[in-house]
Amino acid sequence: MGNKKLWISFAFIILALFPPLFLSQYWLHVMIISLFYVMMASSWNLIAGFTGQVSFAHAAFSGMGAYTSGMLTVYLGLPPWLGILIGTGVAALLGFGLGYLCIRMGGIYLSLTTLGFSEILRIIITNEDQWTRGTMGLQVPGFFVEYSKTSYYYLFLIVTILLLIVIYKIIHSEMGLTFRAVLNDEVAASSSGINTVRVRVLAFAISSAMSGLAGGFYGHYLMLITPDVPSLGQMFLVLAMAVIGGMGSFAGPIVGSFVLEILSEYIRVYGEYHVLLFGLIALAMARFAPEGVVGILRKKWRREWA
């Protein structure tokens, strides 16, 4: 990590400590949700942006994390942190299984199967309502004895920063190098001794585990888990955040998450048009500026920024 980048990151972290001092409860909530989306979009970007595989089960895995942890805490009385740990493990295992089955057949198979998995998970959660409470939502305990948005904000901030550090380390490690080798030239990568399938399955499992973790925290923050968490609508939002912010860059999904989440709060006043609007923007971005907002800014400033 370059010296300048380190200082910029520090400055952002210091700045991020202050919002609870002046933001209203409502906007603090928006910030917490944004942090959740940062975790989701960044970990999705880890496979899509860095290994070129499109998973449509990212929201589904976060739902696995949320429901696993939620049901363990409700029915077995486990503490939330243990529930989240197990939920993350479940998401990782499922990710590994699906990845192992599909990735050897190519990226198209992964996309198709993860889409199917999302739909099936939604159907199961909606129908098995004696366990999941279906569309009514499952009420789960929170993290803190005394509910406070400020505590949740700092909790989410710490988890998000830790997750981002892990992602940053992965991208800039030898493993990240093989990810990009696989993305840029699969044939060359496999002929220079990289097991492309294994690299991709591993990346997919790691990314799925991360979304399980994010989902677990999300569930214990909302304290009500509904089938919207693993829905394709949620998946679309995460994807749009990464695409609009900039796929394949570290800062892109972070910028995209904050911009889109805050924007959707303003648009919500006029009705549920934000999905349609974000869809059109994402289409235009994918078509004309595949490097996203961050890519555009970077070109403009012509200097290393993130």
Binding site: L101, I108, L115, G116, E119, I120, L232, V243, L283
Partner: protein, 282 residues
């Protein structure tokens, strides 16, 4: 009875799946907006016949033609720049499916709609049970569509170009196949097939904007089951899925109708990932 239902649905599954398979076969693009095109076709045929008073049998080809045009427009503006970049085509068609789904909600509203039946009544089949005339007619129209698709692919110049491109794009270009034009028409045709399935099935099962994902999913499962790019696979896969889903829904549970499809998908991926009629090497 359930078996008959399965066969009728199976044939329509096959039409819808051929639409996906055609596009995957020659362009390596999966059209995630497939189900939305189906839904739009259903709504078009409803509004043409109910709101505008067009006779149902004319509204049908008209809706399919509209969907064909939409498909061509999609290929021309959004898909063409992504050739060779599988990831962006997957992302774009997925986003498109969400956009179209929301647009359908906005334009047509959330209520299920069903175009009027073309025929009424039921007839006795082999003296065993009564079966709705509408379903029987849908079945024969679907068979007709299937036969004309096979004729188009196997016997005409356009079909030869499609098969040439899916086997070897560069060689096809060398011998003078205009692959851009063929791609565009094939994408339009794939869209039109989604539309055909939509107009044939919507008088039986009403369309809603939220029903699109299960349509797409069924088509994808059939394509993987039959083998990507294989037309024969689509027909056999479509029938298998149609029959199993209907028998499963009848004897095990209706709620889990779609889960049988997903189980089939996973089993195929475990035991025969290239599908029933696909090539083993990619």
């Amino acid at each position: 009875m359930y078996l008959t239902n399965g066969i009728v649905i199976g044939v329509i599954n096959a039409i819808s799946a051929i639409g996906v398979s055609l596009i995957v076969g020659i362009m390596k693009v999966v059209n995630f907006a497939h189900g939305e095109l189906y839904i739009f076709a259903g709504y078009f045929s409803y509004h043409l016949s109910v709101s505008l008073g067009v006779p149902p049998l004319l509204a049908m080809p008209l809706s399919i033609f509209l969907i064909f045009l939409i498909g061509i427009g999609m290929e021309r503006t959004l898909i063409r720049p992504t050739y060779g970049d599988e990831m962006y085509s997957l992302i774009i068609t997925f986003v498109l499916s969400i956009v179209l789904q929301n647009a359908a909600l906005l334009i047509f509203g959330p209520y299920p709609q069903k175009p009027p039946n073309w025929v009424t009544g039921a007839m006795n089949i082999f003296g065993l049970y009564h079966y709705g005339n509408q379903r029987i007619l849908s079945f024969f129209i679907s068979i007709g569509v299937l036969l004309s698709i096979f004729y188009l692919i196997k016997r005409t110049w356009f079909g030869k170009s499609i098969r040439a491109i899916s086997q070897d794009r560069e060689m096809a270009a060398l011998v003078g196949v205009d692959h851009l034009k063929v791609n565009m028409l094939a994408f339009g045709l794939g869209a039109a097939l989604a539309g055909a399935a939509g107009v044939v099935l919507s008088p039986i099962f009403p369309v809603t904007p939220s029903g699109s994902s299960s349509v797409s999913l069924n088509a994808f499962i059939v394509v993987v089951l039959g083998g990507m790019g294989s037309l024969k696979g689509c027909v056999v896969g479509g029938l298998i899925l149609g029959i199993l889903e209907n028998l499963g829904a009848a004897y095990i549970s209706t709620m889990y109708r779609h889960i049988f499809g997903f189980i089939i998908l996973i089993l195929v991926l475990v035991f025969r990932p290239w599908g029933l009629f696909g090539q083993k090497t990619q």
